[in-house]
C-alpha cells in the first residue's frame, strides 16, 4: 500500500432532503484496490457515491473525505471530475439533441487540460473512441446519437463504461452498474471495468447483488446498513451475504 490513499473517508455523515442518510462512514481505498459496497435498498450506497461526487442537495453534516490527500468536499463537482473522479450513474440521464461524442470529447478535453495535456482534435478523438466502442460492443452509430437518448437500460450502462474507458479516471465509483443487465451485457461491462484495473487506479463498486463480483473480483467488501458500514471483509463476505441475506447483518446497524 502506498502512503497516500486514493480515497480516505472519515466519519462521513450526510443529509438528503432533511433526512440523515449517512451516519458516520469511514473507508480507505488505496491505489490499485477494488472495493465493493453492498447493502440493502435504502442503506445509503448511492448517497455515498453522490456525496463523493459532489451532487447538489447532498449535504455533508460531519466528517471528511480526501482524494489523493486533497480535501474532496471543498471541490466543485466538475473539479472532482477533472481531478480524476468518475461516477458511473445508476440511471444515466438522457440529454436530447446533445451528441454523445460531443459530450464525451468535451469531457475528455476538460480532463486533458487539467492534466496539462494537449486537447485532442476530432480525428484523434474518434480513433481513441473507436477502439473503446469495440471493447464495449457498442455500435459506432451510438456516438452520433443524443446522450442516452432512446438507449435501452443496458445500452446506457455500457455507455457509462465507455465514457470511463475514454476518460481513464484515477478513481471510479460505479453505482449499480450491474442493475438491469442480462448476463451477456454484464460480462461486457465487467470486461470493460477489468481492462482498466491497474496498480494506480482504484474502483469502488456499489452493488446490491454479489453476481457482479463473480466477474469483477474485489479486494474488499463492505456492507452498508442504515447509513453505517456494519461489516468489512474480503470477497468471501459477499458470498456469505448471498447465502444468508441482508437480515443477517441488519441488527448490527443499530449497534
Amino acid at each position: 500500500m502506498s502512503a497516500t490513499p486514493m480515497l480516505e473517508v472519515r466519519d462521513l455523515a450526510a443529509r438528503v432532503g432533511g433526512q440523515d442518510v449517512l451516519k458516520g462512514i469511514s473507508l480507505s481505498v488505496a491505489p490499485g484496490e477494488v472495493h465493493a459496497i453492498m447493502g440493502p435498498n435504502g442503506s445509503g450506497k448511492s448517497t455515498l457515491a453522490y456525496v463523493l461526487a459532489g451532487r447538489p442537495g447532498y449535504e455533508v453534516t460531519a466528517g471528511s473525505a480526501s482524494f489523493e490527500g486533497r480535501d474532496l468536499l471543498t471541490l466543485a463537482p466538475e473539479e472532482r471530475a477533472r481531478a480524476g473522479l468518475f461516477l458511473g450513474f445508476q440511471y444515466p440521464v438522457e440529454i436530447p439533441g446533445v451528441n454523445n461524442a460531443y459530450l464525451l470529447k468535451a469531457a475528455l478535453n476538460a480532463a486533458r487540460r487539467e492534466r496539462g495535456q494537449s486537447e485532442l482534435d476530432a480525428f484523434e478523438f474518434l480513433q481513441l473512441v473507436r477502439s473503446k466502442t469495440q471493447l464495449m460492443h457498442i455500435d459506432e452509430s451510438f456516438l452520433g446519437r443524443g446522450v442516452n437518448e432512446g438507449f435501452s437500460g443496458g445500452e446506457k450502462k455500457r455507455n457509462e463504461i465507455l465514457q470511463m474507458l475514454v476518460l481513464e479516471p484515477k478513481l471510479a465509483l460505479l453505482d449499480e452498474t450491474d442493475s438491469g443487465l442480462d448476463i451477456d451485457a454484464l460480462k461486457v461491462v465487467a470486461n470493460g471495468v477489468n481492462s482498466l484495473r491497474n496498480p494506480a487506479r482504484s474502483i469502488v463498486l456499489v452493488t446490491h447483488y454479489q453476481r457482479l463480483l463473480d466477474y469483477i473480483v474485489p479486494d474488499f467488501v463492505h456492507v452498508l446498513a442504515r447509513g453505517r458500514i456494519v461489516r468489512s471483509g474480503d470477497r468471501t463476505l459477499a458470498l456469505e451475504l448471498e447465502r444468508r441475506g441482508y437480515d443477517w447483518l441488519a441488527g448490527q446497524a443499530a449497534a
Binding site: 466538475e78 450513474f89 439533441g97 468535451a106 480532463a111
Partner: protein, 480 residues
C-alpha cells in the same frame, strides 16, 4: 451547484450596446399627414406610393393597438416617436464603401458585419440598414450578372417602380393590422429582392439592421419576390444600442414565391432586450408573411429570437398553390423580464399543401414565452397536411411558458398533427455534465443547444454558429 451560483452565471451583459455618434437628420416626433408627406418627399417617391401611405395613415387612425397577445408593457406614445431618422450625409449618398462614414463602418466592424471585401469570401452580400436608411449594399455587380435585384427598398422604388406597385402590400395589405398599417404609412427603408425565373441566387443575401438614434422608431419594409423556379436564401440580423427608454420596431416583411420557387428566410434577432430589471429594450412588433402563389412553391421561415423586451411576431405562410410547402422553425428565448409572443400561421388553400412547424421556447429569469400558432385548412385544401411540434424549456422558478395552438380544419381529408412538451433543464442533466468535468455554463449551453438542435440545423452554417453563441450570451446565468 446551488441555484444562486447558477443565477450568477446567467447574467452576461449585452455586447452590442454602444451608440455611434453620427449627425442624424431626424423629423420631430409625432405622426400626421405632413410627416408622411415629408418621408415620401425625402425619398422622392412616385404618387402611387404616397397615396398608398396616406390611405394607410387614414386607416390606422381608426385602429386600436391590439392586446390579445400574452404580453404586458407600458403604453406606447405614438406621438412621442420620431418617424424618420437618417444619418446626415456630406454628399448625395455613398456611391461605394469608400464614401460611407468611417464611424458607421467601425460600428459594423464591432457588430461583426462582413461589409468589406472579405465578405466575398463568406459569400454574403450585405444590405445594411442603419436607422431606416440603407447605407451600403455589396456585391451588386455579381448579383446583377445573375439578374438578381438586391437593393435598398427606396432604391427599388426609384428603379423598379412597376415591381413595387405590383407586389407591395399584396401579401400584407395596408389594412392588415395596427402595426403593419403604421409601417405602411411611415416605413422609411428596407430591402428589396427580385429573383428572375429559373435563377438560383448565387449567394446568401443578408441584411443587418441596427437602431442607433434615440426616440426613433424603426419601420423597415422588406419585399422579396422569387419568380417561377427560382431560389433565394435571405438572412436578417438585428441589434440595437442600450437605452433606458423603450424603442419601437414595427417592420413588415412580405415574401412572394411563384410556381416552383423557394424562399428561405432566416432571422437572428438580437435587439436590445432591456436590462436585468426590465428597463428599456426594443418593442418588436413585426408582421412577416409569405405567400406560396404557384404550384409547388416553398417558403421556409427560420428564426432565432434572443433579443427585444417585447416580441410580437408570427411569420406566416399562405399556401395557395397546389402542393406548396410552408415551414416555420423557431427558437425564442426570454431571460430577465423579456416577453415573447411568437408563432406562425399556416393557411392551407391549395390542394396537397404541406406545412411543418417546429417551435422551441426557452424561458429564464422572469421571462415569459408564448407560442401562438394557427393552422387553418380551408375547404379547397384537399389532402393538406400539417405537423406541429412545440416544445418549451423552463429555467428557474419565475419564468413562464404558454402555448396557444389554434387549429381550424374545414376539409375532412386533411391531416393535422400536434406534439407539445414542457420541460426543465433537470438537475440530473446538469449534474451529469458536471460529473464529466464540464463547466456548468458550458453544460447549460450544451443542453439548451441540444434542445434547439432541430431548428439550428435549418440555419445556414455561419448563422447557426452565431445563433448558438447568441443563445449562450442570452442565457448566461439563467439556470435554476
Amino acid at each position: 451547484m446551488s441555484t444562486p451560483d447558477l443565477d450568477a452565471l446567467v447574467s452576461r451583459s449585452y455586447r452590442h450596446g454602444f451608440v455611434t455618434d453620427i449627425d442624424s437628420d431626424t423629423v420631430p416626433p409625432g405622426l400626421d399627414e405632413s410627416v408622411v408627406r415629408v418621408i415620401s418627399r425625402k425619398k422622392g417617391e412616385p404618387q402611387f406610393l404616397l397615396d398608398w401611405r396616406l390611405r394607410a395613415l387614414d386607416h390606422w387612425r381608426g385602429m386600436r393597438e391590439p392586446h390579445w397577445a400574452h404580453l404586458r408593457y407600458n403604453p406606447i406614445d405614438y406621438g412621442a416617436i420620431s418617424y424618420y431618422s437618417a444619418p446626415k450625409q456630406k454628399t448625395d449618398g455613398p456611391k461605394s464603401l469608400a464614401d460611407v462614414d468611417p464611424k458607421l463602418l467601425a460600428t459594423y466592424d464591432r457588430l461583426g458585419v462582413p461589409l468589406h471585401e472579405r465578405a466575398r469570401l463568406a459569400g454574403v452580400a450585405v444590405d445594411a440598414v442603419f436607422d431606416s436608411v440603407s447605407v451600403a449594399t455589396t456585391f451588386k455587380a455579381k448579383l446583377a450578372e445573375a439578374g438578381v435585384i438586391f437593393c435598398p427598398f427606396s432604391e427599388a422604388v426609384q428603379r423598379h417602380p412597376a415591381l413595387i406597385e405590383q407586389y407591395l402590400g399584396s401579401v400584407v395589405p395596408y389594412t392588415d393590422n395596427f402595426f403593419a398599417t403604421l409601417n405602411s404609412a411611415v416605413f422609411t427603408d428596407g430591402s428589396f429582392v427580385y429573383v428572375p425565373p429559373g435563377v438560383r441566387c448565387p449567394m446568401e443575401l443578408s441584411t443587418y439592421f441596427r437602431i442607433n438614434a434615440a426616440n426613433t422608431g424603426q419601420f423597415e419594409r422588406t419585399l422579396i419576390i422569387a419568380d417561377a423556379g427560382s431560389y433565394v436564401s435571405y438572412l436578417e440580423g438585428c441589434t440595437a444600442p442600450m437605452r433606458d427608454e423603450n424603442q419601437l420596431h414595427a417592420a413588415v416583411v412580405e415574401l412572394v414565391a411563384l410556381e416552383d420557387a423557394r424562399i428561405k428566410y432566416s432571422t437572428v434577432q438580437n435587439w436590445y432586450p432591456g436590462d436585468e430589471q426590465g428597463r428599456g429594450g426594443i418593442y418588436n412588433f413585426v408582421t412577416k408573411r409569405g405567400e406560396c402563389r404557384g404550384r409547388s412553391s416553398h417558403i421556409s421561415w427560420t428564426q432565432v429570437e434572443t433579443g427585444s423586451a417585447i416580441t410580437w411576431k408570427y411569420p406566416s405562410c399562405i399556401l395557395r398553390g397546389e402542393g406548396s410547402i410552408g415551414e416555420f422553425y423557431s427558437v425564442a428565448t426570454t431571460n430577465h423580464y423579456q416577453q415573447a409572443d411568437t408563432g406562425t400561421k399556416m393557411v392551407h388553400i391549395g390542394a396537397n399543401t404541406r406545412s411543418t412547424i417546429v417551435s422551441k421556447g426557452i424561458s429564464a429569469g422572469h421571462g415569459q414565452n408564448a407560442y401562438r400558432g394557427l393552422v387553418k385548412i380551408l375547404p379547397s385544401a384537399t389532402g393538406a397536411r400539417n405537423f406541429t411540434q412545440c416544445d418549451s424549456l423552463l429555467m428557474g422558478p419565475h419564468c413562464g411558458a404558454h402555448t396557444f395552438p389554434y387549429v381550424e380544419v374545414r376539409n375532412p381529408s386533411a391531416t393535422v398533427e400536434h406534439e407539445a412538451s414542457t420541460s426543465r433543464i433537470s438537475e440530473d442533466q446538469l449534474f451529469y455534465c458536471l460529473q464529466r468535468g464540464i463547466e456548468s455554463e458550458d453544460a447549460v449551453n450544451m443542453i439548451v443547444s441540444g434542445f434547439c438542435r432541430s431548428v439550428f440545423k435549418e440555419l445556414p452554417m455561419e448563422f447557426a454558429v452565431e445563433a448558438q453563441n447568441l443563445l449562450a450570451v442570452t442565457l448566461e446565468g439563467a439556470v435554476g
